[in-house]
Symmetry: C2
Subunit: 231 residues, 2 copies
Amino acid sequence: MNIYYAPPSQINNGFAELLDQEAKHISKVMRAREGDRLTIVDGQGGRYQGSILMITNDAVQVKIDKSENVPPSDPRLVLGMGIIKKRDRLEFAVEKAIELGVSEIGLFRSERTIKKNVRMDRLESIAVSAMKQSLQVWLPTITMYHTLDDFLASYTQAEWLVAHEKVEKQDHSFTDTDSDTVLLLVGPEGGFSPSEIDKLTDGGATTVSLGENRLRTETAVTAFLSQFLIQ
Amino acid sequence: MNIYYAPPSQINNGFAELLDQEAKHISKVMRAREGDRLTIVDGQGGRYQGSILMITNDAVQVKIDKSENVPPSDPRLVLGMGIIKKRDRLEFAVEKAIELGVSEIGLFRSERTIKKNVRMDRLESIAVSAMKQSLQVWLPTITMYHTLDDFLASYTQAEWLVAHEKVEKQDHSFTDTDSDTVLLLVGPEGGFSPSEIDKLTDGGATTVSLGENRLRTETAVTAFLSQFLIQ
């Protein structure tokens, strides 16, 4: 795959500079040469094509000759997820959420979360890889919040949907929305507590059932986001 | 979690025998005692409750006092998946498919699959764990087929749906079906080849788009099955 990532700060005046892992990959793994063409995404909607001007182990300079700008998703889907204890499952949830088109991910400790350190650097690296792998051009942000309340405070204007087993009336049209931002809330292992559910619905959230099966958190994340794939 | 698995052959006349890993787990990890209650599922719709009569490291005898029979899913969802090269992703796809309610899984090598040995014993073990974890009582079968054709030959009466990027007309009602068995076909990394797609559609398959994003095989599996969660 000939797609590389460079943040906008490394792309100026028709030239791009690839550093660190990207540069190492190009020089040592791909064994690219001057003149080889590649594609660069900047994580902010920009996709560029160009030719390599110069390669060292630490930096690759590219002359850009084609560029396009892809608008962000509309509506934006924001995933709010209770932290998953097992790292591989958490990383999986993040990777899948990005493939499925999430714009932002918020991780929070909820009442039922076992406290744990999270390797944010690994998650950010996974986010970059997932963006490139899925041919996307917007790099989702991944933010850790101390509490569910802190997370919700950042999205007061969004439409809130929360995955919950007990749903009084299933509104099948939850994927049709007028909002430009939709929050998809998935509780931690064990689900949201009753008081958390009350707080969410008091705040205007709609509860959404993901069917009859009991789903692990990472499975609920993918199932929830998958409802928005087909419009 | 107090749920254990014993195939029907180990359940007779009001008694159940748990062996191997199940017995070890009960005796060494749970340190259960005579009289403790537990739940047993037989993978064929049977769910039993009873009390432990006798425990050794190798076998646990249970006296059953409650039993129920859960009918199989209707329609049955059968997943046909090109083999995924990386073992952790393949195992993930199997685990997620079972949580999401699949009845049977067929793995096949298609034109674009890199040939590889598959640890079927690990997949079967994952299937048992996923069944128990998701509180289900039917144990999905996992079968390896030499070719896509061999797999399809086992399901000539089913409705065939194949996930494909290029879909002329998206029929949104593909989750409404009259068939008792629906085949969900997901190609290997790289997707199905054009000739495989032709063979499938000539055989009556409907192509279904899973949206605009490029999805890894295991993500496509979860996205596809997730469309059937909410009826």
